[in-house]
């Protein structure tokens, strides 16, 4: 996967965001994934979301593990530091990075192998710690880089390219997240940018750990008849249950909120997420109702998408740890070292 730079020509008609940056300023190097890969659509949605939010590129940290999905952080925001770490270990590395500097925006890109097999334990604990980050699972049910083995998210009965069916129950990140107390859970489809972009924006504004599972078909190894993670299957079985809209923190916009039929949740930073639930009784803030709804519909073979669950009341890692408002890494050394006189005094206790 050589990295290929994109030409820098910028069309004069491109819109600029609040920072005066165009969407091109949020791009990375050329993707080296297979043509038609769902992951590239996710990358495009991330670029869009960050541009719309006017996130300063240098204030973003892009974290990933290993796998096709984990390669994608090079394909967006070249002006941000990225960390393509080790298979399954993105969550702890992102946790440590976040611990050191809470001022940055963290996006973790992972896959179903990275998050639901080798790194499953780490993801669960990142959920428990409510590390403030957007954690995207680009879920295609298959190991791409090693050529087509089932992943832990493969559905029972789903057929591999060679025709053998998977017989083991899948690990579903959404149900898992609900049971672990995740505070932001969404599922979307890489082919549905209209739905995905507002979800990503809401996830970036979330108080803690925002898990977004994106069904992202693998065109090479898992886009055939018999696969439950193909474009066709996903399109045919998707049930969009919430339409969400994200409103950044700004007084004049806030004043317009309150149209009937929508639920609004104020995020920790003052921004607002508006939901329109397609089934009228769906309340994305009621964990029990969400759990039973999802169980019922997933049991019918439906891929339920949307912002499925949200709780802005749970403190994140730093709030739980009573951290200072700024980055721990920036505290001047003078404030950290107790000094020689204190050392002398302390040692009287060791006499």
């Amino acid at each position: 996967m050589p990295s290929i730079a994109k030409p820098v020509a910028i069309h004069p008609s491109l819109h600029k965001n609040d920072l005066g940056l165009t969407v091109r300023d949020y791009e990375g190097t050329m993707s080296t994934l297979c043509a038609g890969c769902g992951h590239d659509s996710v990358t495009a949605a991330i670029i869009r979301a960050l541009w719309e939010l006017s996130t300063p590129p240098h204030m973003l940290a892009k974290m990933s593990g290993i796998g096709c999905s984990s390669k994608t952080p090079t394909y967006f925001v070249s002006g941000a530091h990225g960390f393509n770490s080790a298979h399954g270990r993105m969550a702890p590395i992102a946790t440590g990075a976040n611990a050191a500097n809470r001022e940055l925006t963290y996006i973790g890109i992972s896959g179903d192998g990275d998050s639901l097999s080798i790194g499953l334990g780490h993801m669960c604990h990142a959920i428990r710690r409510n590390v403030k980050m957007l954690y995207i699972i680009e879920n295609n049910g298959v190991y791409g880089l090693t050529k087509g083995q089932f992943s832990a998210s493969a559905d029972v009965g789903s057929k591999s390219k060679r025709g053998e069916p998977n017989r083991m129950a899948p690990i579903d990140s959404v149900s898992l997240g609900l049971s672990l107390g995740a505070t932001f859970i969404a599922r979307s489809f890489s082919g549905d940018k209209e739905q995905l972009v507002p979800i990503l924006k809401a996830g970036l504004a979330h108080r803690g750990f925002a898990i977004v599972d994106v069904i992202s078909p693998c065109v090479t190894f898992n886009d055939h008849v018999g696969s439950t993670k193909s474009y066709l299957y996903t399109r045919q079985h998707t049930r969009r249950i919430t339409e969400s809209d994200f409103v950044p923190p700004a007084d004049e916009i806030l004043a317009t909120i309150g149209n009937t039929g929508t639920t609004t949740v104020t995020m920790h930073d003052g921004s607002v997420v508006r939901f329109t639930a397609v089934p009228k009784d769906y309340d994305p803030t009621n964990r029990q109702r969400v759990t039973s709804y999802l169980q019922e519909h997933q049991g019918q073979g439906e891929v339920v998408t949307g912002l499925l669950y949200l709780d802005e009341s749970v403190p994140d890692l730093h709030e739980m740890s009573n951290s200072p408002d700024g980055a721990l890494s920036k505290i001047p050394y003078e404030k950290l070292c107790p000094g020689a006189a204190e050392l002398a005094k302390l040692q009287e206790e060791y006499r």
Binding site: G96, A97, N98, S321, I331, A340, L343, Y350, R351
Partner: protein, 612 residues
């Protein structure tokens, strides 16, 4: 009463055999601390089981006026409080020694030796008569034997009382019951035995400028002084007390007086893989960060240690070694992780190691670890062990230079980044082959992609042989350059010595004592204690200057010797092993016996002319 022992002042060893979970640790600690306060060189070795309650545990106190405080192998007095281990304990006392036991019950005839003296104190009976609460009866039995000991070896009662006053300043009732129990044992011993015994204590003045501290506490304190703001760990014996102490120090020193916020974040990870991942993530983001662990944790951290090495990210690992392989013996000491740390991870990796020998060096080297990790942008391991980490050692008072500022290494700041036309991560190497790095959140021009996959010197992905080699060859040069920055070996020469004795870490006091005893056997030996890897030039020079070097270490496979063989040009034949790896702290006897096991070496020929 036997009078086989000649009178000895401040030169003897006591072993206390207890059942764990009964509160004996506080009685033993009290005796140890009182002797320390009497100004006498002393050491205490806690030989405890991997268990919470009910298994045998021993505590050994050695006093030595000449300052030899390595583990003793001979015991003058055994306090036999554990009937499960009576037989073994009785065997271990030296001929003419003493056994203090609880005479509330008769001693089995099989335990009677006719060359030792038995001091029966009805401890249980005395405590049952004076205390009502069953738990208190058990706890106070320990304090009562301490009382008998105080009489038997002449511990300064004023000091003991003072210690109890300090310890129980806020718990008056406990102070009273402790004093009562102490007096029960003390009075009984005074009334029934000829006190003191032929070996006893007399005040000295060797400890006024010293402290009594364990290595894990000192390590934690070093991390506070180094300016750590993120720590991550998974609980594992014997390293747990590093983070326990670190947390306590953070409560004391890192709560912002103005805001009440915590200027340090401690993450209890889900496993060691996560712990090292968190450390790497935090260090990548500019925080000083460390983890504390032991051998099994090092094994688990392997993959990410390679990532930090290859991607050049600082990380500090405090490895408190225990007996391996596998779960091994978690509460026994060993130096078994030397090779595992030196080359941790797959592929070509080499790491910087520091070997402290006592708690004072733990403090000093802990700080040094962060300076080296950030200067060389690489993992640094400080290899302590259970003996250093969990036993109290008498060491010089720790000192601190307020002029110290952390060496953050080559990190470009905003103004430096702004001046660049383009930042290229692994170019622009300095004389130590270190490239400059940037931190996230400073400027988009400084942004780069950190990766554990193949990269060229610009930080870009590569699969090309020359580009790959270019980077890893620089890493090798960088590692070699670190030799000048690790603490140099301590070398002590004797006139005309032709033999060298080389060691590391907590073997130090035993080896030093052995070197003083060896002239009695006709051998003069020079001493070298290695304190860091990569090895400095002085290490190779010392080895080459001696016809034979005995490498003394606590593992089966001669790991230090192996590392010396691999990483210096010294002929293998010059390096002979002295190994003691059963899990207890090293004694001088282990060293001397080990040297004489090399029957093929004509030690006579290597002997200094003075002794011939």
């Amino acid at each position: 009463m036997h009078q086989l022992l000649r009178t000895r002042v401040n030169d003897f060893a006591v072993k206390l055999a207890n059942v764990n979970g009964t509160g004996s640790a506080s009685a033993n600690g009290l005796l140890m601390q009182a002797i320390f306060r009497m100004g006498i060189p002393v050491s205490g070795k806690n030989l405890f089981p991997s268990n919470i309650q009910g298994l045998p545990t021993w505590y050994e106190i050695r006093v030595n006026k000449d300052g030899h405080t390595a583990r003793a192998l001979d015991y003058d007095l055994i306090v036999a409080m554990n009937s499960q281990t009576y037989a073994r304990d009785v065997r271990e006392v030296r001929e003419g020694g003493y056994i203090l036991y609880d005479s509330s019950w008769p001693l089995d005839k099989s335990l009677i030796r006719d060359d030792v003296t038995y001091l029966g104190v009805p401890l249980a009976q005395l405590c049952n008569d004076h205390f009502k609460d069953p738990r208190e009866r058990i706890l106070m039995k320990n304090i009562a034997y301490a009382g008998a000991m105080i009489a038997a070896i002449d511990v300064d009662m004023e000091i003991v009382t003072q210690l109890l006053d300090e310890k129980f300043s806020k718990k008056k009732a406990l102070r009273e019951s402790n004093l009562t129990a102490l007096k029960l044992g003390y009075d009984y011993a005074k009334q029934n035995f000829q006190c003191p015994l032929p070996f006893y204590l007399e005040k000295m003045d060797t400890t006024a400028d010293k402290i009594l501290i364990d290595g894990n506490t000192a390590t934690a304190l070093g991390c506070v002084y180094a300016g750590v703001t993120v720590a991550a760990w998974y609980p594992i014996t014997p390293s747990t007390s590093v983070m326990d102490a670190f947390r306590a120090f953070c409560d004391q020193y890192r709560r912002d007086p103005e805001t009440g916020k915590n200027n340090c974040l401690i993450l209890q990870a889900e496993d060691e893989l996560a712990a090292i991942g968190m450390v790497i993530g935090a260090a990548w983001n500019g925080a000083r960060s460390f983890t504390s662990t032991s051998g099994p944790g090092i094994s688990l951290m392997g993959e990410l240690l390679g990532l930090a090495y290859y991607a050049e990210i600082p990380a500090v690992i405090m490895d408190i070694q225990r007996v391996g392989p596998s779960t091994g013996m978690p509460t026994r000491t060993q130096q078994g992780d030397i090779m595992a740390c030196a080359y941790a991870s797959h592929g070509d990796t080499k790491h910087i190691l520091l070997f402290p020998s006592n708690p004072a060096e733990c403090f000093e080297f802990a700080v040094k670890s962060f300076d080296l990790a950030e200067r060389f942008q690489t993992p640094v391991f400080m290899l302590s062990d259970l003996d250093i980490g969990m036993n109290d050692w008498v060491v010089p008072r720790l000192t601190w230079d307020d002029a110290y500022r952390p060496d953050r290494g080559r990190v470009l700041d905003l103004s430096e980044i702004e001046k660049l036309s383009k930042f290229l991560r692994y170019t622009n190497e300095d004389e130590n082959h270190i490239a400059s790095r940037t931190l996230p959140g400073v400027h988009s021009k400084g942004a780069f992609f950190t990766r554990g996959s193949g990269h060229n010197k610009f930080g870009a992905y590569t699969e090309m042989p020359d580009e790959y080699q270019d980077v890893v060859e620089r890493l090798l040069r960088k590692h070699k350059a670190a030799a000048k920055f690790v603490p140099p070996a301590i070398i002590q020469k004797r006139d005309g010595a032709r033999v060298g004795i080389v060691t590391l870490g907590g073997c130090d006091p035993a080896v030093r004592e052995a070197i003083e005893l060896l002239p009695q056997h006709g051998i003069d030996a020079d001493f070298m204690r290695i304190r860091g890897f990569p090895f400095g030039e002085e290490v190779e020079a010392f080895l080459n200057a001696h016809e034979i070097n005995f490498i003394v270490e606590q593992n089966r496979d001669a790991q230090l010797r192996s590392l010396l063989t691999l990483e210096t040009g010294v002929a293998k034949e010059k390096l002979r092993s002295v190994l003691a790896f059963g899990g207890f702290p090293l004694s001088a006897k282990n060293v001397i016996d080990g040297i004489f096991e090399h029957a093929d070496i004509n030690l006579g020929e290597l002997t200094n002319a003075i002794h011939r």
